[in-house]
């Protein structure tokens, strides 16, 4: 006779085996945008009707037709994200690339794709957060209730892992949102999932070499609306959603705004940019015009080529949209070229010189090589860190595949 425990095990086993779809965040982003577009069309169509009626003309059908069209396409019928190899690539839209023509990352970069266990030796669930070196992966270990339990380093050379730090005990609704690796420390911040009136967040670091978590401090109000974090040699650094970069000494103390950071957002310490981070449901049309080094004060001015929208740059590369194409260039304007992979949206560059297009295509901006990540044209995992040089996806049967971009150049 089966037991309730068997049922638990069957459900958990099935969930663990489910191959993650391509990035859900991107799929939701695209669907929100399509819907907004449709609403605009509908609004436009109604406006046409009004004008036409006011003008007493007989061209009413044009407006009416547009309206009907907008109405009938509003139903969510597409499987924008799916794990089925036969279905359309996620987020690429009708004119998206045929992902089947790309080679898998394992073929293109055989020394950079690793299959690792999806579970830590103690049975916690493993998700790779970022790569620390060509052989070291920083892993999040979760309890079965998806609560983050600790950070481990997994060595793809030896197959062994070691604990970096354990997450301090927290309330049920507490969630750590972002982790960022600095030279000496790994930092993270958390908030309560149920919200707290006025906002609240706490900041933590742990030594990168391993050791107990250190609480840096707590913030409330506007300062808790974190858009990005970083860790310098002596401070926890973060930017807030309306712009502005703040620091708090790791040894504790009050938040302090970094001078001259109005209208700047942290990208990856010590670099800040003058455009806010890309957000779901919004298309960034504004072009980035500078990169600011918050340690040295150095400012690099970026001149967007004519016709480019949404230009975003790290210190190595810029990505932007020109019509339906994606363009890349160096922040100084050199090396301007089109990426031959259509993409309906842009993500920030990945690692130092990679771009992720149409969800599942990874493009090496230095060499022009491209590959697909995931099991056939599907699936890669979320990024809880900025410009992580790592992508991972479910390999099935309790394994994960990891593309470590730090190992691509090795």
């Amino acid at each position: 006779m089966r037991t309730e425990q068997d049922l638990r095990a069957a459900l958990q086993e099935a969930a663990a085996r489910a191959v993650d779809p391509a990035d859900i965040a991107d799929a939701v982003r695209v669907r929100r945008r399509r819907r907004t577009h449709r609403r605009h069309q509908a609004a436009l169509a109604s406006a046409v009707v009004v004008i036409v009626v006011a003008g007493g003309s007989a061209v009413l059908r044009g407006g009416g037709g547009g309206s009907t069209d907008a109405g009938t396409t509003a139903a969510p019928t597409t499987h924008a994200t799916t794990a089925s190899p036969a279905s359309a690539p996620p987020s690429a839209g009708p004119a998206g690339p045929d992902l089947r023509k790309f080679l898998p990352a394992r073929t293109v970069w055989p020394d950079a794709v690793f299959t690792i266990p999806a579970e830590a030796p103690d049975g916690s669930g493993y998700s790779p957060l970022t790569a620390l070196s060509p052989t070291e992966l920083l892993m999040i270990a979760r309890t079965k209730f998806s609560k983050i339990d600790r950070l481990d380093v997994y060595d793809t050379g030896t197959g062994e892992s070691r604990v970096i730090t354990r997450m301090p005990a927290s309330k049920k609704d507490y969630h750590q949102w972002r982790f960022e690796v600095g030279a000496d420390y790994i930092g993270w911040y958390g908030t309560m999932l149920n919200g707290r009136k006025g906002g609240w967040a706490d900041f933590w670091v742990a030594p990168r070499a391993g050791g107990a978590a250190i609480k840096v401090g707590e913030v409330t109000g506007d300062l808790s609306g974190v858009s990005a974090i970083g860790v310098s040699s002596d401070s926890f650094v973060w930017s807030i959603r309306p712009g502005g970069v703040y620091r708090m000494p790791i040894t504790g103390g009050s938040p302090e705004k970094l001078a001259g950071t109005d209208g700047l957002w942290l990208q990856s310490w010590p670099w800040a940019v003058d455009v806010p981070p890309i957000r779901i449901g919004q298309v960034q049309d504004r072009n980035q015009s500078k990169l600011v080094n918050l340690e040295t004060g150095e400012t690099r001015t970026i001149i967007p080529p004519a016709g480019v929208k949404g230009l975003g740059c790290s210190i190595e590369w810029c990505l932007g949209r020109m019509g339906n194409a994606v363009i890349v260039m160096r922040p100084d304007g050199s090396g301007l070229s089109r990426i031959p992979v259509p993409s309906s949206y842009l993500l920030p560059p990945l690692g130092s010189h990679f771009a992720q297009m149409s969800g599942a295509v990874v493009y090496d901006l230095n060499t022009g090589k491209k590959a697909i990540v995931g099991v056939r044209p599907v699936g890669y995992s979320w990024r809880a860190t900025s410009s992580s040089p790592l992508l991972s996806w479910e390999a099935g049967r309790g394994k994960l595949d990891v593309l470590n971009l730090l190992a691509v150049d090795g």
Partner: protein, 160 residues
């Protein structure tokens, strides 16, 4: 909209997809379910983040949506007279057999089992999520558990 919604989707998307997968038993349906629920969550993000628990909110939407979609899709599939998509490349033993039989349950019974045995929620909370009484949760769970045992015997008999 703000960055916390973006972070929430990035951080919780895959866990929600897995929840959708155990609810529906189908990757396409799971992806649809989670995206639709997240779209709705996005629309009311500010309200939800202030008052409620977004994770609970989105999981509730998914459980309820699953039940109503299942009805609609079942009708569509019956009307389209579609051939069974039922093939599987996994060996049906142990957990796999139990997983396959979950597909024979009506959606509400399946949702009750998922909430109770995958989400580990108490019956009172399951009742609140599905908008039914605690008694209904108990009776649905009991019927579903009975059926899974009967279903297994039936499957074995069919194999002979």
């Amino acid at each position: 909209m703000d960055d916390t919604f973006d972070d929430f989707v990035r951080g919780r998307g895959n866990a929600l997809f897995r929840y959708g997968f155990v609810l529906t038993g189908d990757v396409d349906d799971a992806a649809d379910l989670v995206q639709e629920a997240l779209l709705r969550l996005g629309d009311s993000w500010h309200r939800v983040i202030r008052k409620d628990d977004p994770e609970g909110y989105v999981r509730t939407i998914m459980a309820r949506q699953h039940i109503s979609w299942w009805r609609r899709r079942r009708r569509e599939r019956l009307m389209a007279d579609a051939p069974d998509r039922g093939y599987t490349d996994v060996r049906l033993d142990g957990d796999d057999a139990l997983w396959a039989e979950l597909a024979t349950l009506p959606p509400r019974q399946r949702a009750v089992l998922v909430l109770r045995y995958y989400e580990d929620l108490p019956d009172a909370e399951i009742a609140a999520i599905l908008g039914v009484s605690t008694g209904t949760v108990r009776s649905q769970a009991s019927r579903a558990l009975d059926k899974l045992r009967v279903g297994r015997r039936a499957a074995l008999m069919e194999e002979v």
